[in-house]
Subunit: 756 residues, 2 copies
């Protein structure tokens, strides 16, 4: 029995890992942590694995310890898994050689992530998994949340039967954190596929005082080499075992996989070869291009180690003339990146004269879009294709990058794309996750949710990217063309290009206290021009005011969610309201009827409070409007930090980057975020000058000031002060100065004030 669920890749992997494991030895690292967290929750809830037992989860002191515990647990005969990424995986390398050398069936689920080099990145690429490809682990790659579910099962089943460890990986954040509606696989079905005899053999060779043997001996030059070759057969047989279980999973689910899967024109001359989530985008683009009459294709590498050369060659169409291998990692100084050299070697040692070039994309979760894919295909059409290129950046130093002359919209027709600008911890992301679940659970539509954060977390910047469609959604990139955009914070209009990428006739929803008249002043000219030129249906809602009124404090997420349902028309609004209210009841019933009623009111108000803005046609050409604040003439800040803060960092060329990762200090002071929804107002009449408000402010945005008599004499009339208390300040004036642009509106100051 399989059922549809809207989950992320981490949960999909954990679902399978839990099924097959006796033990999980873990240490949390982004973006893998969720796998361990949900597994831990399942243990608490008494969930059983396919052997009818709870999984024993052991959190260690580091990934080095986790890998040691995995090794020890496997040696003791327990089926063992772990979840990790990036530097965490690096710390596991010594134990990985041991686990592979001792033919132990452990499975590592890895959310592939960058490694810290010139700078750290918590985001996704294949640098970590490629750094362990020499350890003897077999490696299986999943490209989407559904594949994570299916191939994680193949990983565990094959590992048990083939007696080799498997590193199952999928792209950090893009796949690990992307919500998709997928088919899950039931534990009862999985249990039937396990090779129980292989498990018995595994348990029999565990270290056991009843029938002792020793492992981990030291071997001298006379026999070490022979010992290292003694396991060859296990590797030779493994591809067949993996295909066997791909077939079994195919029979069970109808989703068929192969060690290498070709997609595209059967008579393609140009083919891209790659692994991971990028394959989804390439597939989407290839379909788009083939519909336009091109003949292109792609080969998805699933079993990367052992690399089954024969199957690889068989999988390619006979018509192929040119191949581009895309690697999502960089190995400075290497002749080529790893998948590239594998492919060149596979062709070379089999006498194939297919022309191969290699390129690098998507490092640190750099966007990889259909337009970039097209550039890669186009590169193969020129007489001397660029080799060892980069795509997705502008490399104006060593000129490695491909140009992206054309923007294409390759998404399947009928996909609805919605983008939401929110403030970290304002509830926008949570509300969007709810809307995805509501739509996913109550319709037969496919859904996808991806949530982009800056690194400030609470109080930072979030963009939610939601897609809904009748066919599976393969757009593994941020929304570049949007049917609907919501901006949940009015201060964003001068800070980010919030209207950028909206479709002709799309809907733009703003949360602000502004009338059309206010907007003439508050909105930047560029935004007005986009809205008018694209004939955008522009709505405003004063969600802050409404939230206060209906007793929701400043939590606007429920209001914005119902406004979205009303405007985006993904499902009938009445149904949406019904589902939202049912969900609110379920969530808040325990907290009392009043809270439930407040939520109901907020849901209704989100629909009722919408105001369509009848902007004048003149907006299409206006040059008047709000200007973004300029706070400093610091050259580094203005040329480098400011574009990044405005979400235009993708456009920064290589020449502007520090070569060794060093950067100036103290530039945060120029970053005036102005994110406070409400800011404190100082009352000179009641203030007792205790300064506690200044003490508790986490951002030092409130500071007490003393004015000498002389200074006080020269102060402007509007500058409010009070007589300074205390002997030492006799004759001086006091003021509590608030910095509105640094304030985050957390209210700590107001809470602590003894005289409020």
């Amino acid at each position: 029995m399989s059922k549809k669920m809207t989950i992320d890749g981490n949960t999909a992997a954990a679902h399978i890992a839990y099924a097959f494991s006796d033990v999980a030895a873990i240490y949390p690292i982004t973006p893998s942590s969720t796998m361990a967290e949900v597994a831990d929750e399942w243990v608490s809830a008494g969930r059983k694995n396919i052997f009818g037992q709870e999984v024993k989860i052991a959190e260690m002191q580091s990934e080095g310890g986790a890998a040691g515990a995995v090794h020890g647990s496997l040696v003791a005969g327990a089926l063992t898994t772990t979840f990790t990424a990036s530097q965490g995986l690096l710390l596991m390398i010594p134990n990985m050689y041991k686990i592979a050398g001792e033919l132990l069936p452990g499975v590592f689920h890895v959310t592939a992530r960058s490694l810290a080099a010139h700078a750290l990145s918590i985001f996704g690429d294949h640098s970590d998994v490629m750094s362990v490809r020499q350890t003897g682990f077999t490696m299986l790659s999943s490209s989407s949340v559904q594949e994570v579910m299916d191939l994680a099962a193949v990983a565990h089943l094959s590992s048990i039967k083939g007696s080799l460890p498997v590193l199952h990986f999928f792209d950090g954040f893009r796949t690990s954190h992307e919500l998709q509606k997928i088919d899950t696989i039931d534990y009862e079905d999985l249990a039937k596929l396990v090779d129980m005899e292989a498990i018995t053999r595994f348990r029999e060779r565990a270290l056991n005082p009843e029938h002792p043997h020793q492992k981990g001996t030291a071997q001298n030059p006379d026999i070490y080499f022979q010992g290292r070759e003694a396991a060859n057969e296990y590797y030779n047989k493994f591809p067949e075992i993996v295909q066997h279980y791909m077939d079994e999973i195919g029979n069970l689910t109808g989703r068929h996989y192969h060690l290498f899967d070709y997609v595209g024109a059967p008579d393609a001359e140009r083919v891209i070869i790659l692994m991971g989530s990028g394959a989804e985008t390439v597939e989407e683009t290839a379909e788009y291009l083939n519909k336009k009459g091109e003949k292109v294709g792609l080969l998805k590498v699933r079993l990367f180690r052992p690399f089954a050369t024969e199957k690889f060659l068989e999988a390619l169409p006979k018509t192929v003339k040119k191949v581009t291998v895309l690697d999502r990692t960089k190995e400075p100084g290497a002749i080529g990146d790893p998948l590239y050299t594998d492919v060149v070697s596979a062709f070379g040692e089999n006498g194939k004269t297919i022309e191969v070039v290699g390129g690098r994309y998507g490092l640190g979760s750099k966007e990889f879009t259909p337009s970039m894919v097209k550039a890669v295909y186009d590169n193969m059409s020129v007489k001397a294709p660029k080799n060892h290129f980069t795509v997705g950046i502008v490399d104006d130093v060593t000129n490695s990058s491909l140009e992206i002359p054309e923007h294409i919209d390759a998404a399947s027709e009928g996909t609805i794309r919605c983008k939401f600008y929110g403030l970290g911890s304002d509830g926008t992301v949570g509300a969007n996750k709810n809307s995805i679940k509501i739509i996913g659970d109550h319709t037969d539509m496919y859904v996808q949710g991806y949530f982009a954060y800056d690194s400030k977390k609470s109080g930072g910047f979030t963009v939610s990217h939601l897609r809904f469609g009748k066919t599976p959604i393969k757009s593994t990139y941020l929304i570049d063309v949007a049917d609907f955009i919501a901006c949940h914070n009015p201060s964003y209009v001068t800070r980010y290009d919030v209207a950028d990428g909206i479709k002709e006739g799309g809907v733009f929803l703003l949360n602000s206290p502004w009338t059309l008249e206010d907007m003439e002043r508050e909105l930047p000219a560029e935004m007005k021009r986009i809205i008018a030129k694209k004939k955008v249906r522009f709505y405003n809602i004063d969600a802050i005011e409404i939230a206060k009124k209906v007793g929701m404090g400043n939590r606007i997420n429920t209001i914005m969610l119902s406004a979205f349902f009303k405007l985006a028309e993904v499902i009938p609004v009445d149904d949406a309201i019904k589902y939202m209210k049912a969900a609110a009841k379920k969530s808040y019933e325990k907290k009392g009827e009043a809270i439930v009623q407040n939520n109901y009111k907020a849901i209704d108000a989100g629909v009722d409070g919408l105001v369509q803005i009848k902007y004048p046609e003149s907006w299409a050409t206006t040059t008047e409007g709000a200007e973004p604040l300029s706070v400093t003439d610091d050259k580094y800040f203005n040329s480098f930090v400011k574009p990044i803060l405005a979400q235009r960092g993708d456009k920064i060329p290589v020449s502007m980057m520090s070569k060794d990762g060093s950067v100036p200090t103290g530039t945060t002071k120029y970053e005036k975020r102005g994110i406070a929804v409400e800011i404190p107002e100082w009352n000179p009449d009641t203030c007792i000058q205790c300064n506690q408000c200044s003490l508790v402010c986490p951002h030092a945005a409130i500071r007490p000031v003393i004015l000498t008599a002389e200074e006080a004499a020269n102060m402007p009339e509007t500058f409010k002060t009070a007589e300074a208390k205390g002997k030492e300040f006799a004759g001086m004036r006091f003021r509590m100065q608030v910095s509105p642009l640094d304030c985050t509106g957390c209210k700590n100051c107001a809470d602590v004030c003894p005289s409020k």
Copy 2:
């Protein structure tokens, strides 16, 4: 000013590392430890680096800590080095990404070593260095002790000028521990080559509160990729910088190096490509084969990263048709091992249709001999050469191994090869090191010394391999054809094939108390046949007896050394005696004239005490002689452990190996080494039955026994016992039982005996 010194690779590397370093952050691991040890000694002795300062050496808590300290030290603007290998290098991986990413000029000197997989090995291969090839470190390989001296300098100089870290590696044990007479490079000469401006730039970008900046930031998807490409130019320029310093070192020393050095027939059709000490053996063999009319060659890879494809292609002769790439590492599941895929890629992306195969050799210091090299060249001559082969083992499971049908002797003519069988800590190795230094220092001969140990250290088994010649010695393998063999321990004759490999008319020297008559009984038939068939000049010396007489206790090494000089005739024996006496005087003068005189006596006695054994011609066909002891009918011990103990482990085929490294327990009990030169004799008359001898025996080779009256009644007449002391043993007999074959002759029992 350069001078000749007889040193090992570790000392050569340390000589250079010390010159260029402000700081060395270390953690000792075999076989790299010597580098840190000698550097530490030099600090104690007040030696200065080229900047006129002592090196600051910091020993950390692990290699992880050492790498962190190296990173921190470099960031602080100190030129920093470290020495490591194997698992130690694995623990440095996370920091290596950082050091490379931040363009820091650190140099790691690595004695390339195996990694623990199915079993641990402390011996040499390239598994460790290949596991870090993706980190962004540049990598430079040295093949011999002389190259370590020269290319270590290139490594430091290039690192400073090019602002990239360098991993300089050479083969563990083979190069790190091989003694060779080489030219050293003087610090004054090195100092002139340093790019001081580059050092100034390096120090200027160090973290410094006077002009602060920050490093190690976190970058998001918008800019991480651009930042990762910003350092490309450093890698692009690096090969040229390395060649520049190779040229500078060449101008200074007359020894010229290139990124890739081709050696062999200028019109070769078959070429081997490899790195490390194996290149010496291939060079020796190629010369030998070319002299016989073949046209073969080899390409030595020196700069492995960045891989300079153009220079690589230029270095190969235009006539090449077939290439074999030899990798000294195994990456299970990979399409090919790393140097192989590099070469295939280099050819592939440049449209070269040269046929390439790859092979694996020398894992865990497995022997790599001219006969094996010939098999590799022969493999290229067949129509369909075997690819992904192994050489040096018999793989009778997956049939990967090349057959070695023919044994060839490729060493330069005139090389004198001497082999010494000794007991760990009996002074044999020390004496051989002295003889090498005596010959190296007082003649213009080239010398090479390599010392093979089992893993028992003190009381274990040692074989010293010494070569002397008029031309540089490139035989980087154990001596297979010997002019001279000395067996310092009589018990070895039935345990090892000590006479194996002796040359027609060679000299065999045995230390034993035996007459010819005794030898008829004590020597195995096989040994007699070899001695007689090869017309070996066979000498005996009763060194134990002589040592006692001249007051040297049981230290036979001085006696055996002068016997060697007398018989081997590497230098005139009178000169040798003179040098030995001078050395003894220098060493022991402080301990008093008596000790010096004893040494003089021992030196003279070694010459005078030699007895030539006039064995009968009948030995050539005899089948009579001593039989090796059979102590158990345990099948595993007899078929697997026993050949290993007899030094025949090299011949064990893959099919006999455990696939996952697990082995039976408790087999040490069958290993009867019989290595004691003297064993304790129990005296029932004086024994007070305190059992202290039994208590102190480190090998439990002395155990007290009580016999009941009944048992005592049945004991053989020769079975000596004493009346058991103590009430509870009334009427019983006591015996202290010695196990002669387990005794190591350490004398602890005799020392502790209160009634002796």
